[in-house]
Symmetry: C2
Subunit: 414 residues, 2 copies
């Protein structure tokens, strides 16, 4: 068994050359990639992927969300072992987010193709449409519809900032396929991705074995008071929503600090109206993004925040309106897949760390329909979603090897 | 002496009718007035004022800032006793801010005209251009240039949001006059104004005797940290400028609270970049407006805030850049004029309160060149700069009477 696994090794030069080649499509002057979903560069990248997949002996199919699947038959019929990620990027994003997992999956297929390996199960390389949610919201649109979590008609109706509907952009791209091509129930799914955070680098480990994706709670909080003159309104008469917002934001960050890392809190957006230096604001809106690997703790944190906020607003004479923007439960990954990843690391002598993912990935939708796992490699300084995003060649190759080992392990044992 | 003063009384009906008539120029559906400086409605209001001033026997002159002066000769030559205010408004402002003081001044002139009163000193009714600073910044432009505090060329070069230069707008309005018409050194200046705050109403008093205009300190604070992923960045790696801004804003308001009213603090503007729910902000900018009737205290509050802020930013790993937007020292009003206002109140049986002005007024520029004073009347619920701005007829009339008494008092005693 150990010997058999060692027979199949990814070819570093070929794999890294493909990483470089795909990064040239939509390349930015700053060394990143700007390749928004269904943009001309995204379409070029998809065409490149189709060409490479066909060269690797794969049969390419496209579903009604434009998700691309490169399929390879197994000895047995039935659902494939699926692996992949996405090739769209955020504006002025990096070369590795998404593309890395797709190209490592391609390398897996190439290795099997050149060695004429016959697997028990069919294998599929998936390229999901609009994972980033940068052009069309929400993120992870393709995988969400593919697994039947979201109606395709709603996805088609979503418009970008220029008013172009996703459905129209998809049709115009030439990547509108058939609903029957969806792989809604793969046998299992594995996604290899850069960490996008600094944990592996700081720990000096090569491979992240992802335990699950943290639960997320996003809210918009709108506080309304009364606009008034900054010079003539005594403190007792002020109903200032910005003071309340500032205290709220300070408070939730104190909650995070006292949680010792169990709770992540981010307030990313804030705006005050009317927004003049010498006018007490009438209205302030801000967002709160809460995340935790412990869903019960996250629910409790929400309750604690709102109870405290109610009291704060009452004392400040401010009206509060809260809108939930997003909720994602904790997504645990399959222990069987984590075990196969660990086995690969031990066999190859790669250092590893069991860790949660603080970011969302297509894998979280797949986890609802099949056994799912994720593999991380380090991101330099934890930077991602920016042109400086970087992972070392050696780590990229090791991650691809772990993906290959894991896919073969799944094929043997499922 | 007492008997002589009682002879001259404002005529309520005539005065209130003029208040209504002027408010019809630029009237809004919501009961307010929208009359931006040098807009067509401001020009109509100015023409109406010129007509009324000439009917009251005044000689109207215009200076190079478009400031209008309605002049009445005295027995002696020399600089006039000046009184007035402005007729421009903020967008969707009220009927009384500025216009009230001008029309009460007109009523003073009408009373003296119909009684053929000959004063010792010339009298002048002043209508200053662009007091509000809503269309052209800064506020109080006309009075600032008139007293020689600001070069007229700089005022001419200021552009509104549509790119129209103040100088061009002034020329087009037909109200560009001669520099030699400026009244740069009046004998003294008195301004009657609505309070724009709730203090008189809450105290149940009719007349505010203004002690001075509070010192003002405006700053923009820009904090820069590092944009990062809300899910993958551990607390120890965050350099979040919004958390620092929130703590800063909460802190300065605690300073205000512990000052027991001696320090007013307003943060009116805040913005975060890039401003996405799930991205730790890179940059946050906000403003701090500090006011106090005690200039030394205000300077100390600034120092305290910045010392605390330095420490905060150091701990938060955030860079700080501070820009002073505005500084106005405390402007004390002349005790002699305050005494005359008090005498009028006592003589007429009007209740009064000595109070500072938290808002700026043309009077603060005049105070640099002559003995100056201000009179306030109550604003309902303290509302101003909005369509709901309201002061009761009875209070308006009493304020006008106090202005008349004060002007005559000044004429007798100066």
């Amino acid at each position: 068994m150990k010997i058999q696994l060692k027979e199949y090794l990814v070819r570093s030069e070929r794999f890294l050359a493909s990483v470089r080649d795909l990064a040239s499509i939509g390349a930015t002057a700053g060394g990143g990639v700007h390749r928004l979903a269904l943009s001309p560069d995204d379409i070029r990248a998809r065409k490149q992927m189709v060409e490479w997949m066909e060269e690797a002996g794969l049969t390419v199919s496209v579903d009604d969300m434009g998700n691309l699947y490169g399929l390879r038959p197994g000895r047995n019929p039935g659902p494939p072992i699926l692996f992949g990620s996405h090739v769209d990027t955020v504006p002025f994003g990096g070369r590795f987010d998404g593309a890395y997992g797709v190209l490592a999956g391609l390398e897996v297929m190439r290795v099997l193709h050149e060695h004429r390996v016959e697997t028990e199960h069919p294998l599929g390389l998936a390229i999901f449409t609009n994972e980033e949610g940068a052009r069309f919201q929400p993120a992870m649109m393709g995988s969400s519809v593919a697994v039947g979590k979201w109606p395709v008609e709603e996805a088609y109706a979503v418009r970008d900032q220029e008013g172009i509907a996703f459905g129209d952009a998809l049709q115009a791209s030439g990547f509108l396929g058939e609903r029957r091509n969806r792989i809604s129930r793969p046998l299992c799914y594995v996604e290899l991705h850069i960490e996008q955070g600094p944990v592996l680098e700081a720990a000096g480990k090569t491979i992240g074995i992802v335990q699950g994706i943290v639960a997320q709670s996003w809210h918009e909080v709108v506080l309304e008071g009364e606009a008034n003159h900054a010079g003539t309104t005594p403190p007792s008469r002020r109903r200032d929503p910005l003071v309340a917002a500032a205290r709220w934001i300070a408070y939730v960050h104190e909650m995070a600090e006292s949680s010792e890392g169990a709770l992540l809190v981010t307030c990313g957006r804030i705006a005050a109206e009317p927004g003049a230096v010498n006018v007490i604001p009438r209205k302030v809106a801000f967002t709160v993004d809460l995340r935790s690997a412990d869903e019960v703790r996250l629910r409790k944190a929400e309750e604690q925040m709102f109870a405290w906020g109610d009291d704060l607003c009452r004392r400040a004479g401010v009206e509060k309106a809260v809108r939930r923007l997003h909720w994602a439960p904790y997504t645990p990954f399959a222990s069987g897949i984590r075990e196969l990843i660990r086995e690969s690391c031990l066999r190859r002598g790669y250092t590893f760390l069991e860790m949660p993912s603080g970011a969302g990935h297509d894998a979280q939708h797949l986890a609802g329909v099949c056994e799912t796992g994720m593999i991380f490699v380090p991101s330099r300084e934890g930077k991602s979603h920016c042109e400086e995003e970087f992972s070392a060649d050696g780590d990229l190759v090791k991650g691809a090897q772990v993906l290959l080992d894991t896919v073969l392990g799944l094929d043997r044992t499922r």
